[in-house]
Protein backbone atom coordinates (compact mmCIF):
# COMPACT_ATOMS: atom_id res chain seq x y z
CA UNK A 1 0.00 0.00 0.00
CA UNK A 2 1.27 3.43 -0.80
CA UNK A 3 0.12 5.11 2.41
CA UNK A 4 3.02 3.93 4.52
CA UNK A 5 5.63 5.58 2.35
CA UNK A 6 3.85 8.94 2.45
CA UNK A 7 4.83 9.49 6.05
CA UNK A 8 8.36 8.15 5.44
CA UNK A 9 8.94 10.56 2.58
CA UNK A 10 7.50 13.47 4.56
CA UNK A 11 9.70 12.62 7.51
CA UNK A 12 12.81 12.41 5.33
CA UNK A 13 11.99 15.81 3.85
CA UNK A 14 11.45 17.30 7.33
CA UNK A 15 14.91 16.20 8.42
CA UNK A 16 16.50 17.29 5.13
CA UNK A 17 14.85 20.72 5.28
CA UNK A 18 16.12 21.44 8.76
CA UNK A 19 19.69 20.63 7.76
CA UNK A 20 19.51 22.13 4.26
CA UNK A 21 20.19 25.73 5.29
CA UNK A 22 23.32 24.93 7.26
CA UNK A 23 24.71 21.42 6.70
CA UNK A 24 27.22 21.75 9.55
CA UNK A 25 25.62 23.91 12.23
CA UNK A 26 27.89 22.95 15.14
CA UNK A 27 26.61 21.41 18.40
CA UNK A 28 24.30 24.33 19.30
CA UNK A 29 22.52 24.38 15.96
CA UNK A 30 22.44 20.59 15.85
CA UNK A 31 20.69 20.45 19.21
CA UNK A 32 18.21 23.09 18.14
CA UNK A 33 17.29 21.14 15.02
CA UNK A 34 16.92 17.98 17.04
CA UNK A 35 14.66 19.69 19.57
CA UNK A 36 12.53 21.17 16.75
CA UNK A 37 11.99 17.64 15.44
CA UNK A 38 11.34 16.32 18.92
CA UNK A 39 8.73 18.97 19.71
CA UNK A 40 6.96 18.30 16.39
CA UNK A 41 6.81 14.65 17.35
CA UNK A 42 5.57 15.63 20.81
CA UNK A 43 2.54 17.51 19.47
CA UNK A 44 1.68 14.65 17.09
CA UNK A 45 2.07 12.20 19.94
CA UNK A 46 -0.32 14.23 22.10
CA UNK A 47 -2.99 14.08 19.41
CA UNK A 48 -2.40 10.35 18.76
CA UNK A 49 -2.52 9.64 22.49
CA UNK A 50 -6.00 11.14 22.51
CA UNK A 51 -7.32 9.51 19.34
CA UNK A 52 -5.98 5.96 19.42
CA UNK A 53 -7.17 4.70 22.85
CA UNK A 54 -10.67 5.97 22.17
CA UNK A 55 -12.53 2.67 22.01
CA UNK A 56 -10.29 0.96 24.57
CA UNK A 57 -11.00 0.44 28.24
CA UNK A 58 -9.20 2.56 30.78
CA UNK A 59 -5.52 1.76 31.37
CA UNK A 60 -5.00 0.34 34.80
CA UNK A 61 -1.26 0.85 35.26
CA UNK A 62 1.92 2.13 33.68
CA UNK A 63 2.82 -1.17 32.07
CA UNK A 64 -0.53 -1.16 30.25
CA UNK A 65 0.31 2.23 28.77
CA UNK A 66 3.73 1.02 27.62
CA UNK A 67 2.18 -2.07 26.06
CA UNK A 68 -0.30 0.18 24.26
CA UNK A 69 2.65 2.19 22.88
CA UNK A 70 4.45 -0.92 21.68
CA UNK A 71 1.43 -2.49 20.07
CA UNK A 72 -1.24 0.00 19.02
CA UNK A 73 0.77 3.18 18.58
CA UNK A 74 3.58 1.46 16.67
CA UNK A 75 1.04 -0.41 14.55
CA UNK A 76 -0.80 2.80 13.68
CA UNK A 77 2.36 4.75 12.88
CA UNK A 78 4.64 2.11 11.33
CA UNK A 79 2.36 -0.85 10.50
CA UNK A 80 4.33 -3.18 12.73
CA UNK A 81 4.66 -3.83 16.43
CA UNK A 82 7.66 -3.14 18.60
CA UNK A 83 9.95 -6.16 18.78
CA UNK A 84 10.70 -6.14 22.47
CA UNK A 85 9.90 -4.27 25.66
CA UNK A 86 12.10 -4.56 28.74
CA UNK A 87 11.84 -2.88 32.11
CA UNK A 88 13.73 -2.66 35.33
CA UNK A 89 10.45 -2.16 37.22
CA UNK A 90 11.80 1.10 38.57
CA UNK A 91 10.56 3.49 35.93
CA UNK A 92 12.90 2.69 33.04
CA UNK A 93 11.71 0.91 29.92
CA UNK A 94 13.70 -0.08 26.86
CA UNK A 95 11.72 -0.50 23.67
CA UNK A 96 13.60 -2.29 20.93
CA UNK A 97 12.77 -2.30 17.26
CA UNK A 98 14.98 -4.52 15.12
CA UNK A 99 13.95 -3.05 11.79
CA UNK A 100 12.73 0.46 12.31
CA UNK A 101 10.87 1.56 9.15
CA UNK A 102 12.35 5.06 9.09
CA UNK A 103 15.89 3.63 9.13
CA UNK A 104 15.23 0.64 6.88
CA UNK A 105 15.75 2.40 3.54
CA UNK A 106 19.02 3.97 4.70
CA UNK A 107 21.42 1.15 5.40
CA UNK A 108 21.81 -2.31 6.93
CA UNK A 109 24.86 -2.17 9.10
CA UNK A 110 27.18 0.50 10.43
CA UNK A 111 27.11 2.92 7.52
CA UNK A 112 25.46 6.31 8.29
CA UNK A 113 25.53 5.62 12.03
CA UNK A 114 26.22 9.30 12.87
CA UNK A 115 23.25 10.47 10.80
CA UNK A 116 20.81 8.09 12.46
CA UNK A 117 19.93 10.23 15.55
CA UNK A 118 18.43 12.91 13.28
CA UNK A 119 15.92 10.38 12.03
CA UNK A 120 14.97 9.22 15.49
CA UNK A 121 14.26 12.59 17.12
CA UNK A 122 10.72 12.88 15.78
CA UNK A 123 9.84 9.38 17.01
CA UNK A 124 11.24 10.13 20.47
CA UNK A 125 8.93 13.12 20.62
CA UNK A 126 6.05 10.96 19.41
CA UNK A 127 6.52 8.55 22.30
CA UNK A 128 6.94 11.37 24.82
CA UNK A 129 3.79 13.16 23.56
CA UNK A 130 1.63 10.05 23.71
CA UNK A 131 2.89 9.29 27.23
CA UNK A 132 2.19 12.89 28.30
CA UNK A 133 -1.46 12.73 27.16
CA UNK A 134 -1.87 9.45 29.00
CA UNK A 135 -0.62 11.07 32.17
CA UNK A 136 3.02 9.98 32.31
CA UNK A 137 5.85 12.53 32.36
CA UNK A 138 8.90 10.96 30.79
CA UNK A 139 12.18 11.43 29.01
CA UNK A 140 12.74 9.46 25.82
CA UNK A 141 16.12 8.94 24.19
CA UNK A 142 17.10 6.74 21.29
CA UNK A 143 20.24 4.84 20.49
CA UNK A 144 21.40 2.93 17.44
CA UNK A 145 23.92 0.15 17.56
CA UNK A 146 23.52 -1.00 13.97
CA UNK A 147 20.99 0.14 11.41
CA UNK A 148 18.09 -0.55 11.00
CA UNK A 149 17.65 -1.67 14.60
CA UNK A 150 17.24 0.91 17.35
CA UNK A 151 16.37 1.16 21.02
CA UNK A 152 14.19 3.77 22.67
CA UNK A 153 14.80 4.32 26.33
CA UNK A 154 11.88 5.74 28.33
CA UNK A 155 12.61 7.07 31.81
CA UNK A 156 9.53 7.96 33.85
CA UNK A 157 9.94 11.20 35.79
CA UNK A 158 8.59 10.80 39.27
CA UNK A 159 7.71 14.11 40.89
Amino acid sequence: MADTVLFEFLHTEMVAELWAHDPDPGPGGQNMNLSVLESMGFRVGQALGERLPREMLAFREELDVLKFLCKDLWLAAFQKQMDSLRTNHQGTYVLQDNSFPLLLPMAAGLQYLEEAPKFLAFTCGLLRGALCTLGIESMVTASVAALPGCKFQVVIQNS
Partner: protein
Protein backbone atom coordinates in the same frame (compact mmCIF):
# COMPACT_ATOMS: atom_id res chain seq x y z
CA UNK B 1 -31.13 16.76 26.20
CA UNK B 2 -28.49 18.21 28.44
CA UNK B 3 -28.87 21.38 30.44
CA UNK B 4 -25.16 21.89 31.04
CA UNK B 5 -22.04 20.35 29.50
CA UNK B 6 -18.52 20.68 30.88
CA UNK B 7 -15.09 19.42 29.82
CA UNK B 8 -12.59 19.31 32.67
CA UNK B 9 -8.87 18.87 32.14
CA UNK B 10 -6.65 16.38 33.90
CA UNK B 11 -5.57 19.00 36.43
CA UNK B 12 -9.24 19.67 37.27
CA UNK B 13 -9.66 23.07 35.66
CA UNK B 14 -12.44 23.65 33.11
CA UNK B 15 -11.58 23.55 29.43
CA UNK B 16 -15.12 24.21 28.35
CA UNK B 17 -18.34 24.81 30.24
CA UNK B 18 -21.68 25.81 28.84
CA UNK B 19 -25.24 25.82 30.14
CA UNK B 20 -28.58 26.72 28.66
CA UNK B 21 -30.05 28.91 31.42
CA UNK B 22 -27.81 31.93 31.48
CA UNK B 23 -29.28 33.52 34.58
CA UNK B 24 -28.38 30.72 36.97
CA UNK B 25 -25.10 29.69 35.35
CA UNK B 26 -23.19 29.84 38.62
CA UNK B 27 -25.37 27.11 40.10
CA UNK B 28 -24.34 24.75 37.27
CA UNK B 29 -20.69 25.66 37.63
CA UNK B 30 -20.93 24.81 41.33
CA UNK B 31 -22.68 21.50 40.57
CA UNK B 32 -19.99 20.51 38.08
CA UNK B 33 -17.32 21.44 40.61
CA UNK B 34 -18.84 19.28 43.33
CA UNK B 35 -19.31 16.39 40.93
CA UNK B 36 -15.53 16.32 40.36
CA UNK B 37 -15.11 14.81 43.83
CA UNK B 38 -17.43 11.95 42.90
CA UNK B 39 -15.53 11.43 39.64
CA UNK B 40 -12.20 11.25 41.47
CA UNK B 41 -13.68 8.78 43.92
CA UNK B 42 -14.86 6.54 41.09
CA UNK B 43 -11.51 6.74 39.28
CA UNK B 44 -9.53 5.76 42.37
CA UNK B 45 -11.99 2.97 43.16
CA UNK B 46 -11.49 1.72 39.61
CA UNK B 47 -7.73 1.62 40.09
CA UNK B 48 -7.68 -0.19 43.44
CA UNK B 49 -10.46 -2.75 43.04
CA UNK B 50 -9.25 -5.52 40.77
CA UNK B 51 -12.53 -5.48 38.91
CA UNK B 52 -12.50 -6.12 35.22
CA UNK B 53 -14.86 -3.20 34.89
CA UNK B 54 -12.58 -0.52 33.50
CA UNK B 55 -15.13 1.40 31.50
CA UNK B 56 -14.77 4.99 30.50
CA UNK B 57 -18.44 5.80 31.13
CA UNK B 58 -18.97 6.48 34.85
CA UNK B 59 -22.76 6.66 34.84
CA UNK B 60 -24.94 8.65 37.20
CA UNK B 61 -22.71 10.57 39.59
CA UNK B 62 -25.36 11.98 41.89
CA UNK B 63 -28.99 13.01 41.62
CA UNK B 64 -30.47 16.17 43.08
CA UNK B 65 -34.17 16.96 43.17
CA UNK B 66 -34.12 18.91 39.90
CA UNK B 67 -31.12 17.53 38.04
CA UNK B 68 -29.06 14.42 37.43
CA UNK B 69 -25.33 14.54 36.81
CA UNK B 70 -23.53 12.04 34.58
CA UNK B 71 -19.78 11.57 34.15
CA UNK B 72 -17.30 10.08 31.66
CA UNK B 73 -13.53 9.99 31.86
CA UNK B 74 -11.15 9.45 28.94
CA UNK B 75 -7.84 7.59 28.97
CA UNK B 76 -6.07 10.93 29.15
CA UNK B 77 -7.95 11.73 32.38
CA UNK B 78 -10.05 14.42 30.74
CA UNK B 79 -13.51 14.40 32.30
CA UNK B 80 -16.82 15.13 30.67
CA UNK B 81 -19.67 16.11 32.98
CA UNK B 82 -23.25 16.42 31.82
CA UNK B 83 -26.19 17.79 33.81
CA UNK B 84 -29.67 16.79 32.64
CA UNK B 85 -33.12 17.79 33.78
CA UNK B 86 -34.70 15.24 36.13
CA UNK B 87 -38.12 15.82 34.64
CA UNK B 88 -36.87 14.46 31.33
CA UNK B 89 -37.40 10.80 32.23
CA UNK B 90 -37.40 9.67 28.59
CA UNK B 91 -33.60 9.79 28.51
CA UNK B 92 -32.20 6.26 28.64
CA UNK B 93 -28.73 5.15 29.64
CA UNK B 94 -27.59 4.34 26.13
CA UNK B 95 -28.70 7.76 24.92
CA UNK B 96 -26.44 9.34 27.53
CA UNK B 97 -23.65 6.99 26.44
CA UNK B 98 -24.05 8.04 22.82
CA UNK B 99 -23.98 11.71 23.82
CA UNK B 100 -20.72 11.12 25.66
CA UNK B 101 -19.32 9.25 22.68
CA UNK B 102 -20.11 12.24 20.44
CA UNK B 103 -18.45 14.54 22.98
CA UNK B 104 -15.35 12.32 23.06
CA UNK B 105 -15.13 12.25 19.27
CA UNK B 106 -15.46 16.04 19.04
CA UNK B 107 -12.88 16.50 21.79
CA UNK B 108 -10.46 14.24 19.90
CA UNK B 109 -10.98 16.36 16.81
CA UNK B 110 -10.21 19.50 18.82
CA UNK B 111 -7.05 17.86 20.16
CA UNK B 112 -5.87 17.03 16.63
CA UNK B 113 -6.40 20.62 15.47
CA UNK B 114 -2.90 22.10 14.98
CA UNK B 115 -4.11 25.53 16.07
CA UNK B 116 -5.19 24.21 19.44
CA UNK B 117 -2.66 24.08 22.27
CA UNK B 118 -3.46 21.29 24.71
CA UNK B 119 -4.47 22.89 27.98
CA UNK B 120 -6.13 25.98 26.53
CA UNK B 121 -9.85 26.70 26.71
CA UNK B 122 -11.73 25.13 23.84
CA UNK B 123 -12.79 27.79 21.36
CA UNK B 124 -13.62 25.62 18.38
CA UNK B 125 -16.88 26.52 16.68
CA UNK B 126 -17.38 22.96 15.50
CA UNK B 127 -17.26 21.79 19.11
CA UNK B 128 -19.71 24.56 20.07
CA UNK B 129 -22.15 23.47 17.37
CA UNK B 130 -21.99 19.87 18.46
CA UNK B 131 -22.71 20.84 22.06
CA UNK B 132 -25.59 23.10 20.97
CA UNK B 133 -27.18 20.18 19.18
CA UNK B 134 -27.11 18.27 22.47
CA UNK B 135 -28.61 20.94 24.68
CA UNK B 136 -32.30 21.75 24.96
CA UNK B 137 -33.72 24.72 23.17
CA UNK B 138 -34.88 27.19 25.84
CA UNK B 139 -36.85 30.19 24.68
Amino acid sequence: MAVCVAVIAKENYPLYIRSTLTENELKFHYMVHTSLDVVDEKISAMGKALVDQRELYLGLLYPTEDYKVYGYVTNSKVKFVMVVDSSNTALRDNEIRSMFRKLHNSYTDVMCNPFYNPGDRIQSRAFDNMVTSMMIQVC
